[in-house]
C-alpha cells in the first residue's frame, strides 16, 4: 500500500512541476502517509482530499473554478517538508497545510517572504494567533495553549470552580509541540493554586515506565497528555496498567484518535480527549461524500478512514480552506484567486452556525470569526470520551471556551519578540 501511496504521491508531485492549468485553484497537501506517524497522517490526508473531491464533483470546484490537489510526502520529516514547500511555492499554492509543528516553524519565515498563506489548524506556533505579527500564518480554530486552557476550565467546572491543592501532571512529547503548553499551565497553576508537574517522554515513546511509575507514586488528581504517534497508545496502556482513572486522563486533540485507544482494548474505556470539531459520521456532509466520492470510486487512500477522528479533522481543514477561498472570491470579485487574495479571505473568514448547516456540518465547529488581530478563531473545544464496547468516541461536553485573555497575553509577548527580531511591521493598523 505504501508503494502505491508513494506512486500516487510522486505522480501528484510531478504534476506540480507541470505547467498549471489555466483555470484552477491549487490546494497542495504536505502529507505523511509513510513513516512512524503514518497512522495519523493517512486519515487527515484522506479527509482533506475527499472533501475537496466532493466540491469538485458536486459543485464543479469553488465559485465555478475546479480545485487542483497536489500531494507531497513529508514522512513527518522537517527537511522533507521544506523540500516539498520549495517544490510547490512557484505554483500558486493557495494555502500551505504543513501538518507538522517542526515544518511549520521552518516555513513561517519562508511563507512570509513568499507571500503564501499557511494554515496550521490546532498545531504549529501558538503565537501565530496574533495576526499583526504573523500576517501570513493562521492557526484557527484553536491552538495548543487554548487546549491547555480548555482542559483546566473543564477541570474547574468539575471541581466547583476550584483546583486549589489539586495535583495535575502533564505527560508530553519531548519536542517543540509537546513543550508548547508548559508555560500556559504554569501560569494557570499559579492562578488557580494547583500543583503542576510536567513529565517528558522522548520520541517515539515506546517505553514510558519511569514516567508512569512516578505518576503512580505521586498520585495526581488529573493527567493531561500532549502526545503523538505510538506515545499515545503506550501512555493510555500504562495508565490502565496502574489503574489510573481514565475519566481523569485528558489528551489534547492529537492524542484523541482511534489509533491511540484501539490497541489498548477495554483498558482505554472512558479515556477522554479534547476536540475542536464534531465526531462520527452523523452529519449530512457524510451522505454527500458517500454519494459523490465513495460511490463514484474516488475516495482517497483505501476509503477505510471515513468518519474517524483524524479524518474528520482533515475534512474540517479542507472545509475551512474552501470557505476562505470562497470568501476571497467574494472580497475580490474574481473566481481565480491568488495566494495573496486567499490570505485576505482567510483573514475575513466568518463561520456561522447557519453556514455550517448549509455545508452539511451543523454543530460540527464552534462558530468563529477571523480578523487581522486574531488569526486563532474561537479557541473553544469539547471533550470526547472513548467507549471501548462500541469502539466510538462520543461528545460529553458542550463547547468549552479557552481563557483567550490569558492566551492572547502570553502569545502577544512571543509574537512581539518575533516581529521585532524579523522586522515585521504592524499591518493591522494600516
Amino acid at each position: 500500500m505504501k508503494m502505491m501511496k508513494l506512486a500516487v504521491g510522486i505522480a501528484a508531485t510531478l504534476s506540480v512541476a507541470a505547467p498549471a492549468l489555466a483555470q484552477d485553484l491549487h490546494f497542495p497537501m504536505l502529507n505523511y502517509r509513510t513513516g512512524p506517524y503514518a497512522p495519523g497522517g493517512i486519515p487527515f490526508a484522506d479527509g482533506y482530499q475527499d472533501y475537496l473531491t466532493l466540491l469538485n464533483e458536486r459543485d464543479g470546484g469553488i465559485g465555478g473554478v475546479p480545485i487542483r490537489l497536489s500531494e507531497c510526502e513529508t514522512a513527518y520529516n522537517t527537511e522533507r517538508g521544506v523540500e516539498c514547500y520549495e517544490g510547490i511555492r512557484d505554483d500558486s499554492p493557495l494555502v500551505i497545510q504543513p501538518l507538522s509543528t517542526g515544518i511549520t516553524y521552518q516555513l513561517i519565515p519562508r511563507v512570509t517572504e513568499d507571500g503564501i498563506p499557511m494554515h496550521t489548524m490546532g498545531y504549529g506556533r501558538t503565537s501565530a494567533v496574533i495576526g499583526d505579527s504573523f500576517p501570513w500564518v493562521f492557526n484557527y480554530p484553536a491552538n495548543y495553549w487554548d487546549g491547555a486552557s480548555v482542559a483546566i476550565n473543564h477541570l474547574l467546572e468539575q471541581n466547583d470552580g476550584s483546583l486549589e491543592g489539586k495535583k495535575i501532571v502533564l505527560v508530553y512529547h519531548n519536542s517543540a509541540y509537546g513543550r508548547e503548553p508548559i508555560r500556559t499551565l504554569e501560569t494557570l497553576a499559579e492562578r488557580y493554586g494547583f500543583e503542576f508537574n510536567p513529565l517528558a517522554v522522548d520520541h517515539p515513546g515506546q517505553e514510558q515506565g519511569s514516567q508512569w511509575l512516578q505518576i503512580r507514586r505521586e498520585r495526581p488528581d488529573y493527567v493531561i497528555m500532549y502526545g503523538w504517534g505510538v506515545m499515545n497508545a503506550v501512555a493510555i496502556q500504562e495508565a490502565a496498567n496502574i489503574r489510573f482513572p481514565m475519566e481523569n486522563f485528558i489528551g489534547i486533540w492529537w492524542s484523541g484518535s482511534e489509533n491511540d485507544v484501539l490497541p489498548v482494548g477495554d483498558g482505554a474505556d472512558g479515556y477522554t480527549a479534547l476536540t475542536f470539531h464534531g465526531v462520527g459520521t452523523d452529519y449530512p456532509v457524510y451522505d454527500e461524500i458517500q454519494q459523490y466520492v465513495v460511490d463514484a470510486g474516488m475516495a482517497a487512500g483505501n476509503g477505510d478512514q471515513i468518519g474517524s477522528a483524524v479524518y474528520s479533522r482533515g475534512l474540517y481543514a479542507a472545509m475551512l480552506a474552501s470557505e476562505a477561498a470562497r470568501t476571497a472570491q467574494e472580497i475580490h470579485g474574481v473566481a481565480e484567486i491568488t495566494p495573496a487574495m486567499m490570505r485576505d479571505g482567510m483573514e475575513a473568514l466568518s463561520l456561522t452556525e447557519e453556514r455550517l448547516t448549509e455545508l452539511g456540518l451543523p454543530g460540527f465547529s464552534a462558530p468563529f470569526n477571523v480578523s487581522c488581530e486574531n488569526h486563532g478563531g474561537s479557541g473553544a473545544a469539547m471533550l470526547q470520551q472513548w467507549d471501548a464496547d462500541t469502539g466510538t468516541w462520543s461528545l460529553i461536553t458542550d463547547w468549552i471556551d479557552a481563557d483567550r485573555e490569558l492566551v492572547t497575553e502570553l502569545a502577544a509577548e512571543d509574537a512581539a519578540a518575533y516581529a521585532a527580531e524579523n522586522g515585521i511591521e504592524s499591518h493591522c493598523d494600516m
Binding site: 500500500m1 522522548d202 489509533n259 483505501n302
Partner: protein, 333 residues
C-alpha cells in the same frame, strides 16, 4: 523504610523486567552477528514484519488486499474467518523461515566474502524493503495484538509487598507489569532452548563451528548457505517473540521497528557475540536507566532513558570495547 529507598528499589525491579524486553530484541542481533559477522540493521523491522504477519493471520486478513483492490477494482479485505493464535504463530514462523530462505537466495549468496560493511549496507536495504512489504501486505493502520498475554500491574505482587513499607503510608506495594513478568519467563525459555539447540544438536554444533571459523567449517563439509538460512530463521523467530511482547504493549505499528534502537546499547554493553551478554546487557541498561531517571529527574528533568542508555554504553566502550562478554579481537601484525 524511607520513600526514596522503597521507590528506588521499585524502579530497579521495573528496570530489570524492562531490560529483559530489550534483551529479546538484542538476541536477534547477536544470533546473526555471531554466525555470520553481519550487523543486521533489519532486525527491528523483522520484529515489526513478524508482528504484522501474526496479526494479519489472526484476523484472517487477505495479504496485499489494498493492492489487489486498487489493481482489479475489487473490494476484498478478509477471508471471513479468524485463525486461532496457536495456529497463527506457527504459520508466522513459517513465513519468517521463508523470508530467511529468500534473504539467503537473493541477497547473502551474492555477497559471500564481501566486506562486513557491504553486508551491513545490504541489511539497510533489506530493512527498507521489508518495511514497505509489510505495509503493502497488511496496511499501515495501527493494529491491536492480542495473544492472550495478561497486562497491567500485578495485584498479587502489589498486595504481597505492601508490608515492606513497614507502615509507610506513601507505599502501597511494588508495581510490576505482568506482561514484563511473562517476558522474563519467555526470555528464560528462549535462551534455554537456544543453548540446548547449539550444544546438543547437529545443526547447533554446525552453527557454532561456522561462528568459530568459517573456513574450517567449510573444510569439514558444513554448508555455509544452510547455516545462514538457519541463523536468519532463528533470528526471525526471536524477532517474532520481540514483536509479540512489544506489540502487545503499544499495538502493531511502524514505530515497533524503532525498538531496535533500544537494543544497540545492550549489544555494546553485553557484546555482539554473546547470548548471555545480551541478557545481562539488557538487565544493566534497564536498571541503569530507571535508577538514573529516578534520581536525576527532579534535578535535570525526565526523558533521560534514551540518551542515558547510550551514555552508559559509551562509558563501557572506553574500558571494554568488546563488551562484557564479547570476544576480544586481537589483530596480529
Amino acid at each position: 523504610m524511607s520513600d526514596t529507598v522503597l521507590f528506588a528499589f521499585e524502579a530497579a525491579i521495573n528496570g530489570l523486567t524492562v531490560g529483559i524486553m530489550y534483551s529479546l530484541v538484542a538476541l536477534g542481533f547477536v544470533l546473526i552477528f555471531k554466525a555470520s559477522g553481519i550487523f543486521n540493521f533489519a532486525q527491528g523491522v523483522m520484529a515489526l514484519f513478524a508482528a504484522l504477519t501474526l496479526v494479519g493471520l489472526q484476523e484472517g486478513a487477505i495479504p496485499f488486499a489494498h493492492l489487489i483492490n486498487a489493481t482489479f477494482g475489487t473490494s476484498i479485505h478478509h477471508f471471513g474467518f479468524n485463525i486461532p493464535t496457536l495456529i497463527a504463530i506457527p504459520l508466522t514462523i513459517a513465513v519468517m523461515v521463508g523470508f530467511a530462505w529468500l534473504v539467503e537466495r537473493i541477497v547473502l549468496k551474492h555477497l559471500v566474502n564481501q566486506e562486513p560493511i557491504i553486508l551491513f549496507m545490504a541489511t539497510i536495504g533489506l530493512a527498507y524493503f521489508l518495511e514497505g512489504l509489510g505495509d503493502i501486505m497488511w496496511g499501515a493502520e495501527v493494529k491491536r495484538l492480542d495473544v492472550g498475554l495478561p497486562q497491567g500491574g500485578n495485584i498479587w505482587f502489589e498486595e504481597n509487598t505492601q508490608w515492606l513499607g513497614f507502615g509507610n503510608e506513601n507505599f502501597y506495594g511494588f508495581y510490576i507489569d505482568t506482561l514484563n513478568l511473562y517476558a522474563l519467563v519467555i526470555a528464560a525459555i528462549l535462551v534455554t532452548a537456544l543453548v540446548i539447540f547449539s550444544q546438543y544438536t547437529k545443526q547447533g554444533r554446525a552453527l557454532r563451528a561456522v561462528a568459530d571459523d568459517h573456513q574450517a567449517a567449510l573444510s569439514v563439509g558444513i554448508s555455509l548457505r544452510f547455516i545462514w538460512v538457519l541463523t536468519w530463521s532463528i533470528a526471525g523467530i526471536v524477532a517474532l517473540v520481540a514483536g509479540i511482547m512489544w506489540g502487545s504493549k503499544s499495538g502493531v505499528q511502524f514505530s515497533l521497528s524503532l525498538i531496535a534502537l533500544k537494543a544497540l546499547p545492550v549489544l555494546i554493553l553485553g557484546g555482539f557475540t554473546s547470548i548471555p551478554g545480551a541478557i545481562v546487557g539488557g538487565l544493566l541498561i534497564g536498571v541503569g536507566e530507571k535508577l538514573f531517571d529516578f534520581f536525576m529527574q527532579p534535578i535535570i528533568g525526565g526523558a533521560t532513558e534514551n540518551w542515558f542508555a547510550y551514555m552508559l554504553a559509551l562509558a563501557f566502550l572506553l574500558f571494554r570495547p568488546q563488551g562484557l562478554f564479547g570476544e576480544k579481537i586481537i589483530e596480529r601484525v
